[in-house]
């Protein structure tokens, strides 16, 4: 059994260094289960403080075309929920807090309590749940609390202050602020909706706030790190692998370069 490190530890360490934490996302099983674990290792070695392992799902309503393509590839390669947990275990062994980002149905299908139990046993720190909010997530909240797992719910620019209050009061670990009204995917400019959202969220909680959706380079990471506790990057990592066209060595090299750029961005 791998001992989980909570995400709060990573955020505290980054804060002690007077910087934001870098959170990296990659779907499990992409490009293959073993290749995905290699890729995550490259992200950890080059500066990711927290890893989000995506659970590939057939109907990812919050994902843009890049992550959806990766998830579809993983599913077509036969990735299973047990492979996702194996990826978590391999990542957690590296000593980095590891959370799963997952749509809800695969968790419900696995069994909410069983999922929490097996995630904790694999050394996972918790879940990010893009399609379940605290008001409909009581079963997960209870299971997470029973297994000391982080519950990372999302806030959005459209969230009312009342809903931000509801969300942060049910979060553990950090709060995920979606910077844009839209799906995942790298964007040329960071959102002007993010700073006020982070400010409203910070007014409601002392938990760290990570900002995601749209970040693809060190300059954007630097910009977000000025007002957020964490910078969350997903599509850009996926894109680095997709662009390598099956050349695994090239993909790992590209991931290393991108991670260094982002890690430098949050430290600038």
């Amino acid at each position: 059994m791998v001992q989980a490190v909570t995400t709060a530890v990573a955020f505290e360490k980054a804060a002690a260094e007077n910087r934001a934490a870098l959170v990296g996302y990659l779907p499990a099983g992409f490009p293959t289960v073993a290749g995905g674990i290699d890729a995550i290792k490259a992200m950890v070695d080059n500066g990711c403080d927290v890893i989000e392992v995506g659970l590939p799902y057939s109907d990812p309503v919050m994902d843009g075309p890049t992550i959806q393509a990766a998830a579809l590839q993983a599913l077509q390669n036969g990735v299973r929920t047990k492979d996702v947990l194996a990826t978590v275990e391999a990542t957690a062994t590296l000593g980095v807090p590891t959370v799963i980002m997952t749509y809800w149905n695969p968790v419900e299908r696995y069994g909410v309590e069983a999922f929490a139990r097996d995630l904790a046993a694999a050394g996972g720190s918790g879940l990010i749940t893009p399609d379940i909010t605290p008001d409909y997530g009581q079963e997960w909240i209870a299971a997470a609390d029973a297994h000391d797992l982080d519950k990372i719910f999302l806030v959005a620019p459209s969230s009312t202050d009342e809903r931000i209050g509801l969300t942060v009061s049910n979060c553990r670990g950090f709060v995920y602020a979606t910077a844009v009204m839209g799906v995942t995917g790298a964007r040329n400019q960071t959102s002007d909706l993010a700073p006020p959202l982070v400010a409203r969220t910070k007014a409601a909680t002392s938990l760290p706030v990570g900002v995601g959706l749209g970040v693809s380079n060190g300059a954007q990471a630097h910009q977000i790190a000025q007002y957020a506790d964490g910078v969350i990057v997903g599509s850009a990592f996926v894109r680095a692998i997709l662009d390598a066209n099956g050349d695994h060595k090239a993909a790992i090299a590209a991931l290393a370069t991108l991670t260094k750029d982002l890690a430098e961005g949050v430290r600038r």
Partner: protein, 410 residues
């Protein structure tokens, strides 16, 4: 005849959208936080609108003067002779745009205007809901974008052309199975990015709360009208009612007026496709498991990891791996009985209605007729030749002629 938008039944959702309660029931609101504000606003707006006599009056006026409602209840004498029981057809195929869908979209578009939004989006399978949405958008002067699976744009080309002529932008979706479920995913993605000025005209009684309730309320005129019509015609309620079930809007629209009449049997017929044994079907209640899809807990065709299994039906409108949560609850509670009919059985019924009554039904509706053929002997045995089965003929078959030509080698 007015629509009973604000009437309740003992099978309604609670205020959090659960049918049958959150413990063993179905529904709820499993959605990204980014859409929660919009869903809550929609819920409040709908609760206020349906209680507002001026909204109800406007809705009824539009249905009557524009959509050709109420639709007739028709005693299908020659079909009845064939089946040995009395078959009554609720003629939703005679509605403007050719299907029951017009009720839902005119109501949702009227609500959109009331909420001050200027654009609507919709998803469509067979194209009936897309055509109806494009029609409602044109009627109300709203911008309209319709998402449609690439597979469906190919097999429903006529409806694509109709939507474009009505001024809608049609976006083919080639992700996933490129059918209705993927069109819903894509429409939801659009909505996340456009929710401040855009309303999502959901096409069936599925999705997150309040959509199942909203669509049910708007479609319930089918059953409200039919109930009055059958009482006027026969002086009593029918022994049974039947409808096809994909997502389930035409079915719940018919059922709602009869849910609290325990003597009226309620039947739903899902798309059995090539048969269960082939894995190529859309019989979600029969073959699915409880899960969450498109924002609601319901029955879902899924594998052991919770990944959605692609459905199959000759009818694009029934080709959906989920089902509205009300049907899930009606099935689990035992109030309604759901079985399935195969593509072949549906197409046989399609031809039978054409040749006995001179009515070419939508293939969706042909599933309900095929189901009627299956249960007729049992009803006759129990109630005799006066056994009365009211079938919802939810749409007309013009759009399906390409499929029919191929199937029957015409």
């Amino acid at each position: 005849m007015t629509t009973h938008l604000n009437e309740t039944t003992s099978f309604d959702a609670d205020d959090r959208g659960w049918y049958g309660g959150s413990e063993e029931g179905f529904g709820g609101r499993f959605m990204p936080e980014a859409l929660m504000k919009a869903l809550l606003e929609l819920d409040q707006a709908w609760t206020a609108a349906k209680a507002d006599p001026s909204f109800v009056r406007d809705f009824d006026t539009i249905l009557r003067e524009y959509a050709n409602l109420p639709s007739p209840l028709y005693f299908a004498e020659r079909l009845s002779d064939k089946l040995g029981i009395r078959i009554l057809l609720k003629r939703e195929d005679l509605n403007h745009t050719g299907a029951h869908k017009i009720r839902n979209v005119l109501g949702q578009a009227l609500l959109t205007k009331r909420m001050g939004k200027t654009r609507v989006i919709a998803e469509t399978g067979a194209g009936q809901h897309g055509v109806a949405s494009a029609t409602a958008a044109a009627y109300f002067g709203l911008d309209c974008t319709v998402y449609m699976g690439k597979v469906d744009t190919d097999r429903q080309a006529l409806n694509v052309a109709r939507m474009k002529l009505l001024g809608a932008e049609v976006i083919p979706v080639d992700s996933g199975s490129a059918t209705l479920k993927d069109a819903i995913n894509e429409a939801l993605r659009d909505w996340v990015a456009s929710v401040d000025h855009t309303a999502y005209l959901f096409g069936t009684a599925a999705g997150p709360h309040p959509f199942p309730t909203l669509v049910r309320d708007l479609a319930r005129g089918i059953g409200d009208e039919a109930r009055e019509q059958v009482l006027a015609m026969d002086g009593r309620l029918p022994h049974a009612i039947a409808a096809a079930v994909g997502g389930g809007s035409n079915a719940i629209g018919l059922y709602t007026a009869f849910l609290d009449d325990p003597d009226v049997r309620i039947y739903g017929f899902e798309a059995g496709g090539d048969g269960y044994e082939t894995g190529r079907h859309a019989a979600t209640i029969q073959q699915g498991d409880e899960g969450v899809l498109h924002g609601a807990r319901t029955y879902v065709l899924q594998d052991e990891d919770g990944q959605t299994i692609e459905s199959h039906s000759i009818s694009a409108g029934l080709d959906y791996p989920g089902v509205g949560p009300q049907h899930a609850w009606l099935a689990k509670s035992g109030r309604a009985t759901y079985t399935s009919v195969t593509d072949t059985e549906a197409m046989d019924a399609f031809a039978l209605l054409a040749r006995t009554e001179g009515i070419i039904p939508a293939i969706e509706s042909a599933h309900a007729l095929a189901g009627a053929i299956k249960i007729a002997p049992q009803l006759r045995e129990e109630f005799g030749p006066e056994a009365t089965l009211l079938v919802n003929l939810s749409g007309r078959g013009d759009k399906d002629m390409g499929t029919a030509m191929e199937w029957f080698k015409l």
